[in-house]
Amino acid sequence: MGGGDWLNDRLGYRDWIRKSFGRPLPDGASWIRSLVFALILLFVFEGLTGFLLSLSYSPSTETAHASVEYTMNETLIGGFVRNLHFHAASLILVVITLIGLCCFYQGAYKGGNEASWILGVILLNLVFAYTISGFLLPWDQNAFWGTKVRTSIMGSTPLVGPMVQKVVQGGTDLGNLTLTRFYAGHFFLIPLVTVGVYFVYRGIKKHIWKRKMVGVESPETLPTYWPHQAARDVTMGCLVLAVLFGMSFAVPIELGPKADPLLNYPARPEWFFRWLYQLLKYFQGSAQIIGTIVIPGLMGVILILIPFLDRSEKPGFGQKKLLLTFLLAIALFCTGLTSIAYYHDLETGHYEEVELWQAKADPEFDVDTFYKSECFECHGSTGSGLLEATPDFGDPDFWSGSRADVYLIKAILEGIPNETLPEDERMPGYQDKINADQALALIEFKLKKFPEEE
């Protein structure tokens, strides 16, 4: 008796392998099924990259941003792992949508298969929970202000809203306890529910498989999982991972400046929430709840009800034109809102402002020479200012409070068009001569260094 037999006697793994890999497929092998495999693979990948990121993450207001910065800049491939973790979430949404479309086209939820569809909708909501909780963890400006909006949206729910908001935030405002809560949810609670959903899905799948096998007369003629479906699964898996790695190489995910309640940052949500963001602008006053709760809630209900709304008897779009038109209208509505949101940001100079926030002080830039040639004339050698309206850079009060670097960068680049001053005493703009990084270097290495005058 070989070692394999000895083990098999105790574990019975051969039977298990034969049953799972050799199981006959009553519907044959399919590429759509391989999308489900790709989805599971992406979730596993999220678990792996998430675990790797957690190795150097510390959830507190003092450490969260610094630890993510450390992960990105000082660990070997931390920045890339973070890109993978971020982009895989987008891909998960894309794959879920693709699977949903295929199921809708085929009417796959027909004949007592509604449960899988509803599980899919639950999974979609779990993905939103992942993205909302994960969004805050880097604790940068966008995360902080964006999450403030999201918890306030929760707070706008009638009756229970304020209580829910408090429980989610861990208090009346965002802080240490919000980070620990979001981290625990992102890393433990939501994955736990996801695994639960997976096991329910497996149970349902097995049940449906058994039901389909009852009608099969000669199961040995059916294609088996291995190698027919396995080949498709692995191919699709490789394809999705290739896209994921390509995206992660091409589009690095930035870490913004650290969260600061004093500095107003124009926060924006991820692309898949942009339509919702735009929607919020239209509902004024007490109608606010229509944008925050009613419309998103209705969309969720419609999504869950699709298997029951679809009365068609054959696969394809032919028999569900009305439902299809309705869903297309919703999709068009969301796409339109998203486009308006992006267009509006382009128009109002949002991206220019964000660029200023992202400025990194350029150490190559010779701040002393520049100061002497351009600033000296009005601001003087001690930085205290020679004109009536020039500020005193040596005064600590000037640097305290809401004076963010980004506003100074803006003032240096664009000037201050103060109409009450004579034209030759106004601060001119220097954007033809220096860029935002150099302006920040000027602030950091020159203006902030002027000593306080006695």
Partner: protein, 190 residues
Amino acid sequence: MLALIIRISLNPVTRSSILGYNRRMQRRSFFQSFVAFVGSIVLAAVGLGTAIVQGVGSVLHGKGKDENWIKVDEIDHLLPGQPQERTISFRTKDGWEEKTEHQKVLIIYKDGEPVAHSPSCPHLDCPVSLVPEAEKFICKCHMSYFDAKGDVIEGPAPRGLDPLPTKIEDGVLYCRWVRYQSGGSQAVEV
């Protein structure tokens, strides 16, 4: 009650001399189902109860409001007739961490009456900031505009900027830091 059920179910032998075999088994399986059912509810309640008390209750229980007056600025330093921003600093506790918190307050100083407003937009808690040239306030998240008195000019905000309690003592303006629930036409403290 529960103790009685357990005692009976643990002593089937005393019953068996009176009842026939089948009757006994029926009764026994009834008791066992009953114990299993009640027991599962007890187990679930213990787990859920622990989770709710620690995870939810400890947040809602919360501490009292911050009643301290915080210095904003000396009255002489305020610019009359202009909306302006000031930074306030106060000690606070964020979870386990004792720290100095900095917040911005929006000051409107008209006719010798300074009014302080919370910088939190009453729409969805985004930051409101001053537009100095235009003498108005703006929330750049969803584009709500407020006039120099704090009333809504334009945008989705359901009410004007929320006022903070103020007092003037020895020529110094003080305020209290209060958080309001966003949304709704009435300002409600949280």
